[in-house]
Symmetry: D2
């Protein structure tokens, strides 16, 4: 068996000695306060064994990574009707671009771009009694860890500055593709994105997607059919306008967030998460991307 700890150690050493031209996201003022030198990787095998380097239990803002949880919950609740309101195609555009939303007459290209995640948030609000609490419960359950919470300061910070998300929500509303109020949807969405999780918690939570829908406690949350489709969407749409590059260089389904986190997985084999706040030009963690490229290069473990 491979010496995974040794592999992670090597990667960590390489990254620590790399120049990092990335920049910490500043458009959400709270995020700008992050330490640009934070670095962590956590690997969890399907067997349950796990390996870490760096601050793998330090929590950070999951941001867009949380869109996979909300997609999973909405898919669980609404089933394939979901796809009437949001597509499954890569966007071919930067993550905050609005034009494709319009061209498709208010149907966002996929659930992992902002506009699509707003439709997903709208669906959750329509299905849940107490959306914020129930969504948090779902994430805690997948992670089997109740020490996970929203970060109100981040959510509030984004509410003050997230004008582009307001714009996207109003365009969706103008096309009739938000059923609840714009403010209500954005409130939920900003909270959802603010969830704080560590690399370890993320790797535990995403086990459900590498294990046919069963979480680390072996409870069945999603059908195999749904898990496969969520993985396919992560592969083709999980990294904004760098999804093809990630599939090309890493070859795993995954998702990144502007908090500097990345999570990826190989079905039936492992989940792996990395965290480093400075982002590349496409909005993905510069060192996080590099970490995963090194991991698949060293282990030869990928879909293809």
């Amino acid at each position: 068996m491979r010496d995974y700890q040794n592999i992670l150690d090597e990667i960590y050493t390489t990254l620590k000695s790399s120049k990092n031209p990335g920049e910490v996201a500043t458009y959400i003022p709270e995020l700008a306060k992050m330490n640009r030198d934070s670095l962590a990787i956590h690997l969890r095998l399907s067997s349950g064994e796990s390996f870490s380097v760096g601050d793998a239990t330090e929590k950070f803002s999951t941001q867009s990574i949380s869109k996979v949880f909300s997609l999973a919950k909405a898919f669980q609740l609404a089933g394939n009707e979901l796809w009437q309101r949001v597509g499954v195609e890569p966007s071919g555009n930067p993550y905050n671009h609005l034009s494709l939303l319009e061209l498709d007459l208010g149907k966002p290209r996929n659930p992992l771009i902002n506009a699509g995640a707003l439709v997903i948030a709208d669906i959750l609000i329509s299905h849940l009694e107490n959306p914020k609490q129930e969504f948090l419960d779902f994430v805690r359950e997948l992670s089997h860890d109740s020490d996970i919470d929203y970060n109100k300061a981040v959510a509030e910070s984004e509410r003050q500055t997230g004008f582009n998300n307001y714009a996207a929500a109003y365009i969706l509303k103008s096309f009739g593709n938000l059923h609840n109020g714009v403010e209500e949807v954005l409130e939920f969405y900003f909270y959802q994105c603010s969830i704080m999780m560590s690399c370890k918690q993320l790797a535990n939570a995403f086990h459900v997607f590498s294990n046919g829908g069963r979480c680390i406690k072996n409870n069945k949350h999603l059908s195999t059919y749904k898990v496969k489709r969520i993985n396919a969407i992560m592969l083709t749409c999980g990294f904004y306008d760098e999804a093809g590059e990630f599939a090309f260089e890493v070859g795993l389904p995954g998702k990144s967030g502007v908090g500097g986190g990345i999570i990826a997985l190989l079905p039936h084999y492992f989940t792996i998460s990395a965290w480093s706040p400075p982002l590349n030009a496409n909005g993905n963690s510069y060192l996080g991307m590099k970490a995963l490229k090194l991991f698949t290069a060293k282990t030869d473990l990928s879909l293809f």
Copy 2:
């Protein structure tokens, strides 16, 4: 072990009794002559065993499927320098759209859209002594079958009517991303697309991509590294604006052509090809897509 013949038979029966709203491509006059009722599927396991239904030895125009062969040959010859001139991102646009080509300043989004394949053709011309003959030899070698040839009538037919490809080539030329003459590149490209192959020949030839770069005669043509990347590109870019849908519903790397052919594969497991001329609105074989969806649904064999 699964009874694959039985599975293919079931699929064939289902398809034969399906309504087919697709339409045979008419923009290349020679293609319009195809029999819209032709239908074939060929499955080849990595072990070498194979299973067929329908006219699996009848040849048809491979069209865009041939772009995978030309990509493979160019990648073999030029290595990673290739990616200076063509990207690896899905296009988010119809297969004959020109605007993204422009926005990216003459660098096509990926090698499987027409503009990208023209750049690949240009690279092959620069590297090969006798491009048409050497490319044909490469395809024959992968298939281990010398009974494969260009269809001059189809190539000539497209030369008369392929105005959109002329436009794409001249845009590339205006950006300096074609090094050879436009006419020379298009001549090669139209011949490349005209290659006639059967479902069986395709499934045999694509074995190289499911077998780490070794063809059915066990000769090494491509490194594992290159094969993985070609598979990743097929998954994210192989089906025009339906790539996400194919990943979502089928979950295999693959490629389609307007001749009605589709090829897909699961690394280390199998290659599978289907042929039915009528196309859906995205330019992919209507029944071919359905055949592959049914196959992965029945066998549960997919990447995810």
Copy 3:
């Protein structure tokens, strides 16, 4: 001298017997209540003589026509600094399109598209103590008629449904091109658009633009320089994606609104307004456009 009354009578008869395929705007519910058979034309010569047919003293919702008043007031107050924040180029897109706004990095193409008018509204709010009152006073002064007012029901109706304008405002905000709050700008903007005026009042008010900046009471409101430039913008940008068509067929600076009103003018000669609620596919009054085409065809009075 021409018999203008006779010319208007002829046009009126022609229009009354024309089929009208246009449709009354319904996206602002209050506007949908208009009588689709209302029809009026009012011609005011520079000499002061005037001629009318139809309900020329019946008030209607000026909507986008009011953008010329707000542009004039903002130009008066801010001078050429205005053009740092909004361009003077035609948009080449439908009136409610958002993409050009983005491509130009938050600088709307011109002040007569919605996004541009929002920037103008923002500028007025920054310069005026009591924006709504002072803007209304300005329009009343130009018209020399104090019986002009906002229609709160229309303003409120648009606030409930104007999601696309909210979206545009938030995009502008995200680019830093709104200095005041989004809600405050939209509040002013919806009120501005709701101003009710008759054809006669409009023809009187626009005299200032055909008379080198002097209103019908001969008070100087704008420099000749500014008036010329406002006229140029009306000519190139006054009719959404039909501006070229209007210059081609009518050849006068002008502006239309979704309330079915159109105003146009020939510097030093006349102002002319028409009103008929049903709109063509470009959002301009179907019969109003026809009325002005007939008028310039019959009188041979145009810029060119």
Copy 4:
């Protein structure tokens, strides 16, 4: 009466002492040979009086200015049927942009962008026995000067390098909006653009557009109706993505070319041409634009 010679002299002095950040067009190699210090202005009043500064009888490549002649000839021959194949709306895009051509399904936005001028060239070829000779005769007749000719070196130079025009022609062909062969249309088009004329010849030739269709010899070439519409198109579409700016700052119908020439006119008053090779970022002569701004500022003669 104004002292026009004095006004031109003042403008010339101002321009001669201005910094010129413009750059001579190099994409047509022959044009790159022009002297960047050439400067000329020629004013021709409707009365026949004329005034010059600089090298007003030196010929230069008219390039896109020739599109007005071809439009005039095609409108003369084909009448309003022309507008089935080309629009009259400003493009809102750089002069060599292709995407709007596509969005409108092969119908170029107007006859003064390259794609539109190709359709016009196609129409001329369909109507004329000997297109190149008859078109040249038309220009000579309008100028009342037989010493005007094509520049074969420039035409040939553009044929070697005008890949973007080839691309546009092939897109038009793919939409069925070129009836003649691509090579034949481009051959005519490159010759048309290569016509060499001086400022004086241009001002004489454009008199037809300021004089209701009668040329300087008082022959009637175009109806008043057609002349008005050509002037409207020049105003809204004559300066690529700077048409609004030109209407705003100058306020005259006109047309520029990448040879550094600009022509403009005020109906019933004058024609004026300027020439200076270095171009601004929008492809219009930097000093030529400035010359016309100064002229209308000093004389207060404009449409508005």
